[in-house]
């Protein structure tokens, strides 16, 4: 892992705790969690249900904040940012892919892909071109005008991936991105992630399935809000 220390740290967590108070009980979804993800890495995050995977991903994606500890995105400390600045950061640096696709039903494919740019303070002038290219890239170039309802699950997830890429984010975060798909479609989506990784994207993929987790370069295993183990996936399929 020597080369990891050299690479630029895209996301850096230092003693991050996220707890939930349930009456008198305190649930520590993340407990003094310290770790950093470097540029261009492809990680899968695994662990039993309730181990804190989603919590970690939400904090990494800046839709949730640590109860304590420090989180830096590209060196920028997040805990001091206000709501608008966090939103800015999300629209510029984060790409989300969800388990249930989460496309916006009243928008067509192209419009859905464009949503993150819509919320940028100064969106790039070539947004539509970029979105169209991405749609072609994920194999939906002929479906730009279609509504999500008219697409299969796999196609919807492709749109979601295109949407996660449109702002050229620092990190792509995927929470159970293949969880709702049949195995063949899941493999196609994973191939897409492989391609993105080959292009140098930083990808964090939460999954329950070992076979999926092993597609990533490395696996981070959580238990009770802490790091359980870190694995190098030599079996990782990489052309």
């Amino acid at each position: 892992m020597a080369e990891r220390a050299q690479a630029e740290k895209v996301a850096e967590l230092t003693r991050v705790t996220r707890h939930y108070k349930m009456g008198t009980n305190v649930v520590r979804a993340l407990d003094e969690f310290s770790f950093s993800f470097a540029k261009g890495e492809y990680w899968s995050i695994m662990g039993s249900s309730g181990s804190g995977k989603s919590t970690l991903l939400n904090i990494l994606g800046c839709i949730d904040r640590p109860s304590s500890g420090s989180y830096r995105v590209r060196g920028q400390e997040v805990s001091t940012l206000d709501d608008d600045e966090l939103s800015n950061l999300r629209s510029r640096d984060i790409g989300f892919v969800f388990q249930s696709y989460n496309l916006i039903p009243q928008l067509n494919v192209l419009e859905n892909i464009l949503v993150p740019l819509f919320y940028q303070d100064d969106p790039p002038p070539d947004g539509e071109e970029r979105a169209t290219k991405l749609a072609e890239r994920v194999g939906l170039g002929s479906r730009l005008e279609h509504r999500p309802m008219e697409l299969s699950g796999g196609q919807q997830q492709r749109v979601a991936i295109a949407r996660a890429l449109v702002n050229d984010p620092a990190i792509v975060l995927a929470d159970e991105a293949t969880g709702n798909l049949d195995s063949k479609t899941a493999l196609e989506i994973l191939d897409l992630f492989d391609e993105l990784h080959a292009e140098g994207k930083t990808i964090l993929l939460v999954t329950h399935e070992r076979t999926v987790g092993q597609r990533a370069e490395r696996t981070l295993r959580l238990r009770d809000g802490k790091i359980d183990e870190v694995l190098e996936n030599r079996t990782g399929v990489k052309a």
Partner: protein, 423 residues
Amino acid sequence: MKGTFGRTVRLGVHSLLLHKLRSVLTTLGVTFGVSSVIAMLAIGEGAAKKAQDQIRQLGSQNVIMRSVKPPDDVVSGRETTRISSYGLTDSDFLRASTTFPGVKRAIPVRQLQQEVRLGMRALNPRVLATVPQYIQVTGRPLSEGRFLSDEDERRVSNVCVLGYEVARFLSPFESTVGQEIKIGPDYFTCVGVLLPRVPLGSDQPQPGADVTGELFLPLETGRKWFGDVQVKIRSGSRDMEEVQLHEVIVEVESPDNVLLVASAARHMLASQHKQKDYEVVVPLELMRQAEETARTWTIVLGAIAGISLLVGGIGIMNVMLATVTERTREIGIRRALGAKKRHITTQFLVECVILSVGGGILGVGLGLLIPLYVEKNYDLPAIIKATDPLLAFGISALIGIVFGLYPAWRAANMDPVEALRHE
């Protein structure tokens, strides 16, 4: 920024179209509210203007004394012939012109009961015998020819001036000026025709007159040919009436003195007449009353309109709150993808405003139809000011904003993580 806003509006329309029926039903409250505002303003304005016009025709600087037939004291079943004598007298007229303070002039008017005929056409208009100044005091405009002159009065000439309706009835296509009009048994030369006037609410058609309309003769001519006694045939009895003057119009120098002259007239008549065979009409007082009535109506109608707008607004708020809950997940997605709170606020506010303004536009349409309908079927004029639809538009936009603020605020302040987890 402009492009962003345009897209937000388009997005709002898209979202609303997902539930067309619901959106349309939601706008109905505002539609009815706005249409009642428009209708209220138009009808209120029209009614006020009509009242003002009618009163202005009487002359706001005038005080009008009128003869009124006192109630019959004997009603007999048999055919009777009797003379009843009542009303204003020449001496009332003299007192009015000489003893009232601040009077510019006083005009005597006698009303005769005569048939008017030209060729085959005949009618019973109000035949008024009066002096040339009548036209200045009442401000009635001439359509053609001239009004009565001092010369006519001095010579007691057989001339007459026709009201517009009478002239058109007698001679629909040709001018009546210069023609010989038969009034009762005699012929009078028509010298002029007046312009039509808005029918006065207080002008009850006289018994026996089948067309409202007027015809004017010189005062002295009227006295010479027709005397003071008139015969009215009514429900089997022949009533002879002796009335010296039917009306005395007193023109006051300055508007400030109108009420003073009115009370002087009431005092004078009360002391001179044993029975109440007169009335005093003060257009200025009527105008004030009409204004008061119009204001009351405006308040009542305004309250109704306000309530329906309020109900409409609450309807929008209710539906928007439901929409926000229903779209919690969408809100979560948008927040996760970088939407700021104000983006979410704007999105829902825009939807509210589209709903309410949509309702407002429908309301303006409906609100313009109601006055048209009323005008056609109830003979009430309606006046639609160009600013009314703008006002309604503004009101409905305001309602959308006011009643949309809370739902929009709720939407914007959802926790993104919670919202994303929402089913």
